[in-house]
């Protein structure tokens, strides 16, 4: 199964992968609309989104949030995302079975079932899951949200992050025989 593998020696910390991810997962696939109309991003200075869900998306559409995250330390940077494990930690930890392994091997979440308990965040040893505050299936819980992780861009031949990377620091290939 093809997955996205980072090549950290080529990463220039530009974060275009995050931008492409956001645009790809937006309603309109237009950058300005994805960022401005569908919701502004907050507190970007540390590469995470800390957002008050009360201010989530304006157009009634879930606010786009990057599913791949550039992690940095010193001069090192690499774009990290869900490994789509064969025996996913998150599926084994999911409180109500909303995370599952699809037929083609991708690990996905049922976005209308996830209750934002964050057992998956606790379980994922790659830190690949983020919390998407723009949607909640349990609105009574403050700062709730749902599981948010890479879905390998089902509508594209090659995931958006791989396509956009200016130094080919991300590759989309099958390494299962290794």
């Amino acid at each position: 199964m093809k997955r996205v593998y980072p090549r950290e020696e080529r990463c220039i910390n530009c974060h275009l992968c995050e931008v492409a991810c956001i645009v790809e997962h937006s309603e309109t696939k237009l950058p300005a609309a994805a960022y401005h109309v569908e919701g502004l991003r907050f507190n970007r200075e540390d590469s995470r989104t800390i957002c008050d869900p009360a201010e989530a998306g304006t157009a009634g559409v879930p606010k786009p949030l990057n599913r791949t995250l550039v992690q940095t330390a010193g001069y090192l940077s690499l774009s990290t995302n869900c490994r789509h494990c064969e025996e996913p930690d998150c599926v084994l930890a999911c409180k109500n079975g909303s995370l599952y392994v699809a037929e083609d091997g991708r690990v996905l979440v049922q976005e209308d079932k996830c209750v934002g308990c964050w057992m998956c965040v606790m379980a994922c040893r790659y830190g690949a899951i983020s919390r998407n505050p723009a949607r909640s299936n349990v609105p009574a819980v403050a700062f709730n949200g749902i599981n948010h992780h890479c879905d390998l861009c089902p509508e594209r031949e090659v995931p958006a992050c791989v396509w956009v990377c200016p130094t080919n620091a991300l590759v989309f290939e099958d390494r299962d025989d290794q």
Binding site: C14, P31, A169
Partner: protein, 515 residues
């Protein structure tokens, strides 16, 4: 804070006051215009700008610029995913004055600010005449039919080195370089340029069948495998020179001078001496690498002959020895002396040649154009009957295959391209090479900037450039009714001059167009 977090969080400088000690930055040269509607605050430009020009203001949730730091490298324009950025000239600039131009005034400001020598990178950017642009090439019509390069083989291969005096049987053969086309990569030292770029040059040289030159910086151990496509330099600092260095290479080159800064030595500012560079050059990390102006064991032509033969002995006469000089006054006489001293190759570097760091005033005012230097050297060597004893490589602002054709006609055997190679891999000629912050990862070894240029990408682009030029050269040769560069070399009749004085035409040895 972590290094990248600092870049991500770079915030606006506070209130600006008119700084009496920094007049140079008092008037920005460029304005970074950002279309606020298109800007999605992705912060890619903030992270990519190495010149402290772009920052994110979380209070206003917007991206802002310190315009006086902008050097017009255009990296932000290139990377912006919504094409929201446009670099423009700041404004009216100084009042129109052909004598006191913007650049002239700002240079005085800079010197009054610092009291230091103003450094710069790349080549002479002033409005001196370009003789290349005043020469035109012949084409075949009617009586001398042109040749179709798609139907006839065109010989672009250049053998570079000493040729025998006369035909004998068996022939006298001297070590020669064999380049599949008469274009080689100019000396650019590791330290002045990025490791990835030098690797790309080496890979492309191997792919195309030509050569790259290590410059003064020695040969990095990881590039040893490209030794048979490498010309290694012995410059005044003797950085990285060892027996292995010489034997592993295809040719050795004694650097007497370079077009960008004739008469003075190489200069690698301390900021650019990273650990890897220091190891390859065998100097302390962070220290300025200043090559002495003369080679301190070459004070006469006899000393040069000693060194040339010293190198030949050391390599057992298996490698051609090249001597590189800057094009200056009396270049023809100097070249003649060098040939008689035993050099197999003479490199003449004109005043448009690029550099990683040189005093601006020397770069812009010292040296002569390579076109006239080349023409005079070729003529003098022919007159003295020693033209066959050495090949001539011309360097210094070779920009296109047309320059190559014209240069061949003026008498060169081959050409070095430096700036053109950098532009091929993304250089935007912002002239900030000396600062070690190259936005494109070409002239820096800083670990955060180096990955911006990937060696395979560089190699592919350089290979493309040379293939394109090769094809164009074939077309132009065919167009002139020639099928070999040998037939073009020194063939001044294939050129005509436009807009030159008679003295200029005579110096170049060509006729006025129309005649």
């Amino acid at each position: 804070m972590e290094y990248y977090e600092e870049a991500n969080a770079r915030v606006a400088l506070g209130l600006r006051r008119p700084e009496p000690g920094d007049w140079y930055h008092g008037y920005p040269e460029y304005h970074v215009e950002r279309d606020d509607d298109k800007c999605i605050r992705c912060l890619v430009c903030v992270r990519q700008c190495p010149y402290d020009c772009t920052f994110y203001d979380p209070h206003r949730h917007g991206v802002y610029n310190v315009h006086e730091n902008c050097v017009n490298c255009r990296r932000c324009e290139f990377m912006c995913p919504t094409s929201a950025i446009r670099i423009t000239k700041w404004g009216a600039g100084f009042r129109d004055n052909d004598n006191w131009k913007q650049k002239t005034i700002r240079t005085v400001y800079k010197q009054a600010d610092s009291g230091a020598v103003s450094l710069t990178g790349l080549g002479n950017d002033r409005e001196y005449v370009s003789y290349f642009d005043r020469m035109v090439i012949d084409a075949s019509q009617v009586t001398n039919p042109s040749i179709d390069p798609l139907r006839e083989p065109m010989e672009l291969r250049a053998y570079i080195g000493k040729k025998p005096e006369r035909h004998t049987n068996p022939p006298e053969v001297y070590p020669n370089l064999k380049a599949e086309l008469p274009v080689l990569f100019a000396p650019m030292s590791f330290g002045a340029i990025a490791f990835n770029f030098q690797r790309g040059l080496a890979m492309a040289a191997k792919e195309v069948g030509t050569y790259f030159n290590t410059g003064e910086g020695g040969l990095h151990p990881d590039l040893r495998q490209y030794g048979d496509h490498a010309i290694v330099q012995i410059a005044s600092g003797r950085f990285g020179v060892s027996l292995d260095y010489l034997s592993n290479a295809a040719a050795c080159e004694i650097k007497i001078g370079q077009g960008a800064k004739p008469g003075i030595g190489g200069h690698l500012p301390g900021e650019k001496v990273t650990w890897d560079v220091s190891r390859t050059r065998m100097i302390p990390e962070g220290s300025d690498a200043l090559s002495p102006a003369p080679q301190h064991d070459i004070y006469s032509i006899e000393d040069l002959r000693l060194l040339i033969y010293g190198l030949k002995e050391a390599t057992e006469y298996t490698r051609p020895v090249s001597v590189k000089i800057a094009a200056v006054h009396n270049v023809a006489a100097i070249a003649s002396g060098i040939v008689r001293a035993g050099a197999d190759i003479v490199v003449v570097d004109g005043f448009r040649g690029g550099t990683g760091a040189a005093p601006t005033v020397i770069r812009d005012h010292v040296g002569i154009p390579v076109e006239v230097a080349l023409a005079q050297v070729d003529q003098r060597l022919r007159e003295e009957g020693i033209r066959h004893q050495a090949s001539l490589i011309a360097a210094g602002g070779i920009r296109s295959s047309a320059d190559v054709i014209k240069g061949l006609a003026l008498g060169a055997d081959a050409f070095y391209i430096g700036t053109a190679a950098m532009v091929a891999v993304g250089c935007t000629a912002c002239q900030q090479c000396h600062r070690g912050r190259c936005s494109w990862g070409i002239t820096t070894n800083r670990p955060d900037l180096a990955p911006r240029l990937q060696p395979e990408v560089a190699a592919e682009r350089l290979t493309n450039l040379l293939h394109g030029w090769a094809h164009e050269i074939k077309e132009m040769l065919g167009m002139m009714g020639l099928n070999s560069i040998e037939s073009l070399r020194g063939n001044r009749l294939k050129l005509r001059g436009v807009g030159m004085t008679q003295v200029e035409l005579d110096t170049l040895g060509i006729q006025q167009a129309g005649l």
